[in-house]
């Protein structure tokens, strides 16, 4: 985001929230370095966010509420059936069945699209997305080294929640995340830096990612692509970094 304000007190919040584009984020980092009062405010805001995140219990909707809603929505099909003491149940089952059908149709469509691509075309696609990211004015949509900022950012944008970690101590600082569209699917992409190299790490659930595993370790136009499956996710790392160091990041992320 390019903020409309220049008030440092507001910008600190936007910075903590990963809402600033890289240029403005750098500017705030400079202000933080120069102004101890501002740096203290940043610590307070982060402490507050951390306390809310870790202490407040996550609210779950009562199961009874979901049933009530299903009953209200499914009234038509329930009313069409002869009255029964289980009348609330069939509509809920119908709802569940239609979800299942929708899921099967959706995954079938994905498979169909993916089938047409050989490993070569897939490698080209992955490298093309990496180069797009390098050329774009901002290669990240959410600029933050805080995984608690990056991970929730994907909520509501994609249908899965990728594992997100910062490996700064191992030499691979997390610098942010973005949404990348690969094979017509929005994909969570984490951006790391190692020395002067930018690394894109696509994280996909196995149902979307398995076809990338065929790439194994590939080199294309001077870029290295490494893949790995772990814990129900497929990790696809792309960078101009050498394969060995790129492999170290993959080891850290997919373990």
């Amino acid at each position: 985001m390019s903020p409309s304000t220049t008030d440092p007190k507001l910008l600190v919040h936007a910075y903590v929230d990963g809402e600033l584009d890289p240029a403005h984020a750098l500017e705030v980092e400079r202000m933080l370095a120069d102004d101890p009062a501002l740096a203290a405010e940043r610590q307070r805001v982060e402490a507050l966010r951390g306390a809310i995140r870790e202490r407040l219990p996550r609210e779950q909707a009562p199961p009874e509420l979901a049933r009530r809603i299903a009953t209200a929505i499914g009234l038509r099909s329930a009313a069409a059936q002869p009255p029964s003491r289980l009348s609330a149940r069939p509509s809920w089952r119908a709802l569940a069945a239609s979800v299942l059908v929708a899921a099967v149709v959706a995954s079938g469509a994905t498979w169909f699209i993916g089938e047409g691509r050989g490993p070569d075309a897939t490698a080209d696609m992955v490298v093309a997305s990496h180069m797009r990211a390098l050329m774009a004015p901002a290669s990240i949509d959410v600029a933050s080294s805080d995984r608690h900022t990056v991970k929730p950012w994907f909520n509501g944008r994609i249908r899965y929640s990728p594992p997100v970690e910062d490996f700064a101590t191992q030499g691979f600082p997390l610098i942010g995340g973005r949404l990348e569209v690969l094979a017509e699917e929005p994909v969570a992409t984490l951006v790391y830096r190692h020395k002067q190299h930018l690394i894109n790490l696509h994280v996909l659930p196995a149902r979307l990612g398995n076809r990338y595993l065929a790439l194994g370790a590939t080199q294309r136009e001077g870029f290295n692509i490494l893949t790995r499956a772990q814990g129900g996710f497929v990790y696809v790392a792309v960078s101009d970094l050498n394969a060995q160091e790129l492999g170290s990041l993959l080891q850290l992320a997919a373990r």
Binding site: E59, P62, G156
Partner: protein, 213 residues
């Protein structure tokens, strides 16, 4: 309050049901949490969410398919405000006053808060204190903070849900956090030694506890 009596019989094909199940139901927990923070009560939150779901179901054809969570939360918020208007109009009257105060204060000095508690003190605030402090926030601040810090929406989404410009989201969020910091950072429980009794002093101006450059 009786929501479920509304005649749904003429509405909703099976397509709509499937779409509702894939668009709305995944966000039921978020919907309920927002409704609870807005109404302050679990039973009321259930009524609000049910009403919101019926509205969402009727309007499912109008969902553009971009951001399901923001769409659902927008409807929940709308239903919650309608509910508050009917059952607790006092809460909404206060909002109007507050908006006026907020706009007036915006032109005043931004750092009106002389209280600068230690980050370490804030970090150890427990759930009950945080809940109470958030619940005490005026509605526009509370919803902005909850959408951001509890539910993890970004500024653009919050602007969309609460129907205000991003600049307003930023200032409300900053204010909400400032209030919470002052509240949970200074207002120590009685069993903690060495801290001034904050309950009596909360509304009075206080000296800055540390030297500021």
């Amino acid at each position: 309050m009786e929501w479920s009596a509304s005649p749904m019989g003429s509405l909703g094909s099976e397509d709509d049901q499937a779409r509702f199940a894939s668009v709305v139901l995944p966000h039921l927990a978020d919907a309920y949490a927002l409704a609870r923070w807005l109404t302050g009560d679990r039973a009321d939150a259930e009524d609000v969410v049910q009403e919101a779901c019926l509205r969402a179901f009727r309007g499912i054809g109008g969902f553009a398919g971009v951001n399901a969570r923001a769409w659902v939360l927008t409807i929940v918020r709308h239903a919650a405000y309608a509910w508050l208007g009917k059952n607790r109009s006092a809460a909404l009257v206060m909002v109007d006053d507050l908006e006026a105060v907020e706009q007036q204060q915006a032109s005043d000095a931004p750092d009106s808060g002389p209280q600068t508690p230690e980050a370490a003190l804030i970090a150890k605030a427990d759930a009950a204190r945080l809940e109470a402090a958030i619940a005490e926030l005026p509605l526009p601040f509370r919803e902005t903070l909850v959408l951001r810090d509890v539910q993890g929406l970004d500024y653009r989404e919050i602007a969309e849900v609460t129907k205000v410009p991003i600049g307003t989201v930023m200032s409300r969020l900053a204010r909400a956090r400032r209030r919470l910091i002052e509240r949970v950072g200074m207002d120590e429980p009685a069993d903690a030694p060495g801290i001034a009794p904050a309950n009596e002093a909360r509304n009075e101006p206080r000296k800055v506890p540390r030297n500021q450059p």
